[in-house]
């Protein structure tokens, strides 16, 4: 694997390998000094054209725990504001001698474009509506820690599927690991075509909840109402929000997930977000370990990792 652009590139085997490796890095993260020298001498750059403090911090924490140097290319204060092209920016960064570039961009496909020009490793940290592969990996890891396996599990992804990079990556990853995915959303928030998507579609959340092991809620962007995709956020919450009353339909072991940041009171009620079966904090914690595994696989020398059992 030379880059991580899409979950699809990994295949089930690649995902399994990363999840196995993540176990080791969870263990590292739990040490008093959560650090190993696996990527000492390597430099990882965060190139974030779109703000995402949590994803950027998660990657940077992961890189630092592996002993890598980190740099942040902050688009807001850079020459990009003066009209520099993505290609020129990437070439400038590479000229400083970097090993990996973690890219976040509001436009789908930018990591693919950069991978055609760059000599360093490219990690997709979210591109437009398209993919967010490390989010899918941390979601798989979190489900596995809670439920043992994804095989045969039923997972409902609820909300704005159409504009969600998390949903696109999750559908691929969950189904590759043997889960069934049901998408629950009003038709205006589904992609125009689901041809080739290994999913079923439901429009009634109440019907769905009692039958699933995982309910994965997506963030509802407030502007969807302005775009006439929804009559109102109130109606959305009434039909698709996970209220305490609705949450009662969930099975005893079922878990609630959300990629954050949450709109409490819109897609998820505040009380539900604080229930013990809501695993959002686990998702964030596991995110660091998963990203350590990804960076280690992409940048590691392949030699035995000091103090870490690759499993």
């Amino acid at each position: 694997m030379s880059h991580l652009l899409s979950v699809a590139d990994l295949g089930a085997q690649g995902i399994e390998e990363i999840l196995r490796l993540t176990d080791s890095f969870v263990e590292v993260s739990e040490r008093a000094i959560p650090k190993v020298p696996a990527l000492r001498g390597k430099t990882v750059v965060s190139l974030f054209y779109e703000d995402s403090t949590r994803t950027r911090l998660s990657f940077e924490t992961a890189a630092k725990r592996l002993g890598a140097d980190t740099m942040t290319f902050s688009v807001g204060t850079s020459s990009v504001k003066k009209g520099e092209s993505v290609r020129d920016t990437v070439q400038t960064i590479e000229a400083m001698g970097v090993d990996a570039i973690v890219v976040r961009h509001a436009s789908a496909g930018v990591p693919w474009q950069i991978a055609r020009w760059a000599s360093s490793v490219i990690v997709n940290a979210g591109d437009g509506w398209h993919e967010h592969p490390t989010q899918a990996l941390l979601d798989c890891y979190t489900i596995r820690r809670r439920l043992g396996s994804l095989q045969g599990r039923r997972i409902a992804i609820v909300g704005d599927i159409k504009h969600s990079r998390v949903a696109r990556s999750d559908v691929l990853a969950f189904t590759m690991l043997g889960a069934e995915v049901v998408l629950v959303a009003p038709p205006t928030l589904l992609p125009p075509s689901l041809e080739g998507w290994p999913v079923t579609v439901e429009h009634d959340l109440d019907e769905t909840l009692s039958k699933v092991d995982v309910v994965y809620l997506l963030r509802m962007q407030l502007e969807r109402q302005r775009e006439a995709l929804l009559p109102s956020l109130r109606e959305y919450t009434a039909r698709y929000g996970l209220t305490p009353r609705r949450a009662e339909h969930l099975g005893a072991d079922a878990i609630v997930m959300h990629p954050g940041p949450m709109n409490r009171g819109v897609e998820i009620a505040a009380e539900v977000a604080d229930l013990p079966n809501a695993v959002m904090v686990d998702q964030v914690r596991n995110g660091v370990a998963v990203r350590m595994a990804v960076l280690f696989l992409l940048l590691g020398s392949g030699t035995q990792l000091e103090g870490v059992d690759r499993g």
Binding site: S85, V86, S107, A108, G109, V110, G128, W129, E195
Partner: protein
């Protein structure tokens, strides 16, 4: 043949609207054909060898973007006309979406003046509305007086029905043709590729086929209302082709064009997010490609037009949703038609030469027939030659060619413009 020939094209098979026959062609100093005979003795005339080749009326492109004035870094009239000549075109109709817009006599004159130095004859379309803003009719009369025969807001469709009705009525009084880029913007706004399986997978906002079909349908209703003549540009969907087919069956005075990329590429080409494949109307489905091919074969679509749209590498390398639409096409159109359409050469040439010449209103000088007294606007095609597309060898200033590395069959060997060999053995002469 009392007058001495200055140029003789020997050994070829002439193919024009009259049919096919082996013939040599002699051209006089005035750029007109002196003789068409089975065998002509060249004497002291320059000889163009056409042995084994088809000698055809020069090709005519109804839809070229030359970018001048305003975007000379992407193309100039001169560079675009050289690319056209290398592609076998002896005439192109430049689209008016330049900076400034071709929406008045002064800009028309400027483009026509620039065209005089070109390697093909450059005609220009005029805008239907001022600034292509869809609000006020452009002075079509003053532009028509300078020879403009085709009007379009290309790059955009005229959104307002009432204004389009008035434009059609006004144009019919000038004996000019309105051409429409069919796109209902309220439906396509924000889209960057065909809306369907691939846009859903790639997470790119889509443009539904209906954004085109609704305007085709609306304009057909307006043609019925006004009786005016109308030309549909770059049809890309099965539904549009069907609408035009039904309109022609009803006897409406409409014509249509399709572009090579709409019968050779599908939206699957966008899987790698390469903006070189970003074009408007967008690349569509296999079913749409098949429908466009059928339309070209059965006469529903009258012309192949390139929509040659040069863009610099820098602008095309932007993130997909920021990159401009368009691809170059003048040098590959004929070969793509010969390679990808299973049509006889006469039909391909009808689509690329005499039919577009008629739509452009330039049939008196382009599109043949190859006959004594006619202007010697010719191209010589080696229909069996196989070649690999290399954007770096293009005469265009831009390299946004989606066919890089593709092997095509059929190559232009010579192009003759008003008796002057502007391309000889595949090389531009100036």
């Amino acid at each position: 043949m009392a007058e001495a020939a200055v140029l003789v094209v020997t050994g070829g098979r002439v193919v024009d609207r009259e049919g096919e026959r082996p013939a040599d062609i002699a051209v006089g100093a005035d750029g007109r054909i002196l003789a068409v005979d089975p065998s002509i003795e060249p004497g002291g005339a320059q000889v163009l060898d056409a042995t084994g080749c088809v000698v055809a009326p020069g090709l005519v492109d109804l839809h070229t973007h030359l970018r001048e004035p305003g975007r000379e870094e992407a193309e100039t009239v001169e560079s675009g006309s050289r690319a056209a000549a290398l592609g076998g075109f002896t005439a192109v109709v430049a689209m008016p979406n330049t900076e400034p817009t071709v929406d008045n006599a002064a800009v028309v004159s400027q483009v026509l003046d620039l065209g005089k130095r070109g390697l093909c004859e450059v005609f220009t379309a005029g805008a239907i509305t001022v600034g292509r803003e869809g609000e006020q009719l452009a002075p079509m009369g003053e532009m028509a007086a300078l020879g403009v025969r085709l009007f379009t807001d290309d790059g955009r469709g005229v959104q307002d029905e009432r204004l389009m009705r008035r434009a059609l009525e006004y144009a019919s009084g000038l004996d000019v043709t309105l051409a429409q880029h069919c796109e209902v913007e309220s439906l396509s706004r924000g889209g960057h590729m065909h809306e369907g399986a691939w846009s859903s997978r790639l997470g790119i906002p889509g443009i539904p086929a209906q954004a085109e079909e609704l305007m085709v349908s609306r304009d057909l209703a307006l043609v019925e209302l006004t009786g005016a003549r109308m030309h549909f540009q770059h049809l890309s969907t099965a539904g549009s082709v069907e609408l035009v087919r039904a309109a022609k069956a009803k006897g409406l005075p409409v014509t249509a064009e399709a572009c090579p990329h709409h019968f050779t590429l599908t939206h699957a080409a966008l899987a790698g997010y390469d903006p070189v494949f970003k074009v408007n109307p967008p690349l569509r489905t296999d079913g749409d490609v098949a429908a466009v091919k059928r339309g070209l074969g059965d006469g529903t679509i009258d012309a192949i037009a390139t929509d040659h749209a040069p863009h610099t590498q820098e602008t095309k390398e932007a993130p997909f949703d920021e990159a401009p639409c368009g691809m170059v096409g003048l040098e590959t159109a004929l070969a793509l038609a010969l390679t990808e359409l299973e049509l006889p050469i006469e039909r391909v040439l009808a689509l690329l030469s005499w039919q577009p010449a008629a739509i452009a209103g330039i049939a008196d000088s382009h599109g043949g027939p190859v006959a004594v007294g006619r202007p010697a606007n010719l191209c010589v095609i080696d229909t069996g030659a196989s070649w690999v597309v290399d954007p770096a060898r293009s005469a265009s200033r831009s390299r946004n060619n989606p066919y890089a590395g593709r092997t095509l069959t059929g190559k232009v060997r010579h192009t003759v413009l008003w008796g002057e060999p502007v391309v000889v053995e595949g090389e531009a002469q100036r």
